[in-house]
């Protein structure tokens, strides 16, 4: 019954045009890969899809991701939400910045990589779902790659820039941003800084949510130098500092978090050559993260929990045209990730209690990937890709080895991961195209899954222990997408099936005693035979007339494990509908976000059902000249009805923001 309704709705709904034009597939078969990528181009070009995703100028990357049908967000605080692709997250997906690996430094996943990119610096956000998204790293869930803006080279203006400012009422939050670009014909330099300051927010109904404040500053500097017409040198730095970031769903907050991310690259492109493009990048980054419980009342025992991650790596990518119909992309990469986190607890009158929560460990990886694109005819093309990875992982200090010897862990481990996928594009009739894919992929267990030492999961109220004897998870996936175009409108429907073998999950281990005061027990990461996720996504871009557009997305997923238990953290049926009426230099947009209830919950993970909800937003934008400068004002009200609601993936059922008025100004020069 339920299913029938769902499918009926799916058929009615669907997707806007991703910035991709289906026809381009015929011209360049490599675009097949991009078909499942959602590309959000920044400003300049008027792109309705972009505006849809980037609901307002001060939208965080999380806001944007929440509007992509492939993505869901796991929320522990008002900030730092963890993305999941089709309900697969963390170690099951790659989250990259310009193809670089970055590992969070927080054992509680308070610092997903997506917090380091401000949308104002974002050139595109690419989401490749499933096993076909393993080109830039072994994963079973796919890849989110955030492509950062590069400095402009001389385009008639030596100096250019953008200044932005905004205010939102629900959290009394300020947003200030500035971007400056200096360029000559050979050289461009771009600096950007964003400051966000937010107080405790007001939830629907008026209750203030304590410990939901945050303050952060993000700054970046990049430099581009043209060596010759085909070759560019690019150096890039991103710094990010967060202060006093509240996590209402966790027993502690973040006092201070800092990330430094740097890279240098060379990129070449010459369309007349067989080897028509290549890109070489070396990078290094470090993240420091300090949790803080000093502001919380009734803390049974004060503790310090700092963590750090250090990553170094490189990659080289090249595209080679075999002939008019075939091309090959190759990628070689290697990285080394060091992680350490510890905990010191203070009981008055006793010596401090110190232990490693991520015992010092290092994971080295080297991989090679290739994609073969074949343009069979104007009506069909296909792509075959594969990736191999060698991974070496282990504890690196005497201290960490000694601690983990309690569980008999000593040896380093070596693993070999394989992924292979095939994807085909077929045009069936004038307006219909079908994309199908099949993949097999493997992923390496995370440091938490391997080495975690009594890591507290606040959502489940269990301590978690790692298991270094875990095998890589394996996944078989199938996906089918149908796309129907009519005029400037487009409907897209995707169905997928994800079968994960040796699925890693926490199992209660009654032999172990809890570390965290008040925890219900200890779980150890173990593997169950398999888990399945079946789901569908739809999107619709409807161009009603010159001035009216409708964008709508819909997603649904059903997950269960080999014991027929529902999988934990499966987002329920959700739909977003947005209608826009454009006037001359002005538009208004009405939106609804609707979510069904989720009653299929995992009891072993102490998951509770979540009610459905519907919320409504109204937005507007006005473009004007301010002292002859291109200016834009945006304003709106979100959650107009002040509904008190939570999404299923929100930890602790902390209500989300209530009615929120916002206004932002942007001036470009």
């Amino acid at each position: 019954m339920n299913k029938t309704i769902i499918f009926a709705i799916i058929i009615l709904m669907a997707k806007f045009a991703h910035a991709q034009n289906e026809d381009s597939v015929f011209k360049d078969s490599s675009k097949i890969v991009d078909l499942t990528e959602v590309t959000v181009y920044n400003s300049k070009k008027v792109n309705k899809a972009t505006d849809y995703f980037k609901s307002n100028q001060s939208a965080t990357l999380e806001d944007i991701m929440s509007r992509l049908p492939e993505l869901s967000l796991i929320k522990r605080g008002p900030y730092g939400m963890e993305p999941s692709i089709r309900n697969l997250s963390d170690g099951r997906i790659n989250v990259l910045i310009d193809g670089m690996k970055i590992h969070g430094a927080c054992t509680d996943k308070m610092d997903p990589v997506t917090i380091y990119i401000e949308p104002s610096n974002l050139k595109s956000l690419e989401v490749e779902s499933g096993g076909t998204g393993s080109f830039s790293g072994s994963s079973i869930g796919g890849t989110i790659n955030m492509k950062k803006d590069e400095p402009l080279l001389y385009s008639g203006k030596t100096f250019s820039g953008i200044v932005q400012s905004g205010f939102q009422t629900a959290a009394k939050s300020f947003y200030e941003g500035v971007q400056l670009n200096y360029s000559t014909k050979k050289f461009g330099i771009k600096g950007a800084a964003t400051y966000r300051n937010s107080s405790n927010y007001r939830s629907g109904g008026g209750k203030i949510i304590p410990f939901s404040q945050f303050e952060k500053i993000n700054y970046s500097l990049s430099l581009k130098y043209k060596l010759n017409e085909r070759l560019y040198y690019l150096a890039d730095y991103i710094g990010d500092k967060g202060y006093n970031i509240g996590y209402p769903a966790l027993p502690m907050d973040v006092g201070f978090a800092s990330a430094n991310i740097g890279s240098m690259s060379l990129s070449y492109s010459d369309n007349s050559k067989k080897l028509y493009t290549w890109n070489l990048k070396v990078y290094a980054n470090s993240v420091v993260h300090k949790m803080d419980d000093t502001k919380r009342p009734n803390v049974p025992m004060h503790m310090d929990m700092p963590g750090e991650s250090n990553t170094k790596g490189f990659y080289a990518e090249a595209s080679y045209r075999i002939n008019r119909h075939q091309k090959i992309d190759v990628r070689i990469d290697a990285s080394s990730v060091f992680l350490k986190a510890d905990m010191t607890m203070y009981q008055p009158g006793e010596l401090p209690m110190y232990m490693l929560t991520w015992p010092d460990n290092r994971t080295n990886q080297a991989g090679i990937a290739a994609k073969w694109n074949v343009h069979v005819s104007d009506k069909s093309s296909f792509m075959i890709s594969g990736r191999l990875d060698g991974i070496n992982s282990g504890l690196v200090t005497t201290e960490s080895k000694s601690q983990m010897s309690i569980f008999g862990y000593e040896k380093k481990r070596n693993d070999f991961l394989k992924s292979v996928s095939a994807k085909a594009y077929q045009k069936a009739g004038k307006n219909i195209s079908i994309i199908s894919s099949l993949s097999y992929s493997e992923r390496f267990p995370t440091a938490t899954e391997l080495y975690g030492f009594y890591l507290f999961n606040a959502s489940e109220n269990y301590d978690y222990i790692g298991n270094p004897f875990l095998n890589p998870e394996k996944s078989i996936q199938a996906e089918l997408t149908g796309n129907y175009r009519f005029g400037r409108s487009n409907i897209k429907l995707t169905g997928y099936y994800i079968h994960v073998l040796d699925y890693i999950t926490g199992m209660v281990n009654p032999a172990l005693s809890v570390m965290t005061i008040g925890a219900a027990g200890v779980k150890r990461f173990e593997q169950i035979k398999f888990a399945d996720i079946i789901g569908a996504e739809g999107s619709l871009f409807l161009n009603v007339n010159k001035n009216v557009d409708v964008v709508s997305t819909l997603k649904y997923a059903y997950g269960k494990d080999s014991e027929n238990n529902p999988l934990v953290a499966i987002a329920p049926l959700k739909s977003i509908v947005s209608v826009r009426r454009t006037f001359n230099n002005f538009y208004v947009q009405a939106e609804s976000e609707m979510s069904a209830a989720q009653n299929r919950v995992n009891k072993m993970a102490a998951e509770l059902p979540t009610n459905g909800f519907a919320i409504f937003h109204l937005r507007g934008e006005y473009n004007f000249a301010f002292f002859k400068l291109n200016s834009k004002a945006q304003f709106g009200v979100e959650n107009i009805l002040d509904k008190n609601y939570t999404e299923h993936l929100d930890w602790g059922k902390i209500p989300r923001q209530g009615r929120n008025f916002y206004i932002q100004l942007k001036v470009a020069f």
């Binding site: 905990m343 009981q347 209690m353 232990m355 490693l356 000694s402 010897s405 309690i406 005061i517």
Partner: protein
């Protein structure tokens, strides 16, 4: 040239090896503190007593004795018998002791005593060497350690009083630690303390301020001379309580026994 090199190498080797010999002779005394030096009355013998530290505590304590003749040459095969002794006025008693074996190792005779209480003790030592026999009494002031290292219980199995002493770990780490304790039965008048081998010991570490334990510990089992050896695992630093249960022939001989250790 080659020859010269050969000669130099040989010379170097000889010098190095002779240096090494010196080191070997010096080594036993390195890291040890001399806490007593005196002569054995009625003989021409001299004794020196060494310990790892100058202050002595109520715990399982290891000592080293050097016996020398009048000329100061070390004697390798003395017969030594040690009796710890405490005179409390109204009563006198001894303490558990593990006497040295007949021959010295690196010129030193190693023995251990378990001071079962604080106060003024004497180590009464009988020495027979070079056909001479004599005695020496070495006074020791025994202080209380930071956490008690010797405890006792009266067995509900046989009504006897047992002392048990903490030996290892002396330098605990987060991780797996060798754990060793010694158990002694109290003899008549508290003058002898024969080592006990009859106990089955249950070990359960606990962090009292947090209420948790640690996994995969190995309960101490008897390895000889009243010593029981097992493994204790610490998951973090801080104050730990090592809960011990002593079973004797299927009966709980001593329960709720424990050592505390803080690092």
């Amino acid at each position: 040239m080659k020859k010269l090199f050969l000669i130099v190498s040989v010379l170097f080797a000889v010098i190095m090896s002779s240096c090494k010999k010196d080191e070997v002779q010096q080594q036993p005394v390195i890291n040890l503190e001399k806490i007593y030096e005196g002569s054995v009355e009625g003989t021409g013998l001299k004794v020196e007593l060494y310990s790892k530290q100058i202050s002595q505590y109520a715990q399982y304590s290891t000592f080293w004795i050097a016996v020398k003749d009048a000329a100061g040459n070390p004697i390798q095969n003395a017969t030594i018998n040690v009796v710890p002794f405490m005179d409390m006025g109204s009563m006198q008693h001894s303490a558990p002791v593990e006497n040295p074996s007949a021959s010295a190792v690196d010129n030193l005779y190693k023995f251990s005593a378990v001071f079962i209480m604080t106060g003024n003790w004497a180590l009464n030592i009988n020495i027979t060497a070079n056909s001479q026999t004599g005695a020496v009494s070495i006074p020791l002031n025994i202080q209380a350690p930071a956490k008690p290292k010797v405890k006792s219980f009266t067995s509900s199995a046989d009504g006897s009083k047992y002392f048990y002493a903490y030996i290892e770990p002396t330098s605990p780490v987060v991780g797996i630690n060798d754990m060793e304790i010694a158990v002694f039965k109290t003899g008549p008048m508290m003058m002898t303390f024969p080592p006990d081998s009859s106990m089955t010991i249950g070990l359960e570490p606990e962090m009292p301020s947090m209420g948790h334990g640690s996994p995969n510990n190995v309960s101490p089992v008897h390895i000889g001379n009243g010593h029981y050896k097992g493994k204790v695992n610490f998951t973090m630093t801080g104050l730990w309580k090592l809960n011990l249960d002593f079973m004797s022939g299927g009966t709980l001989a001593g329960e709720d026994q424990y050592f505390e250790i803080e690092f």
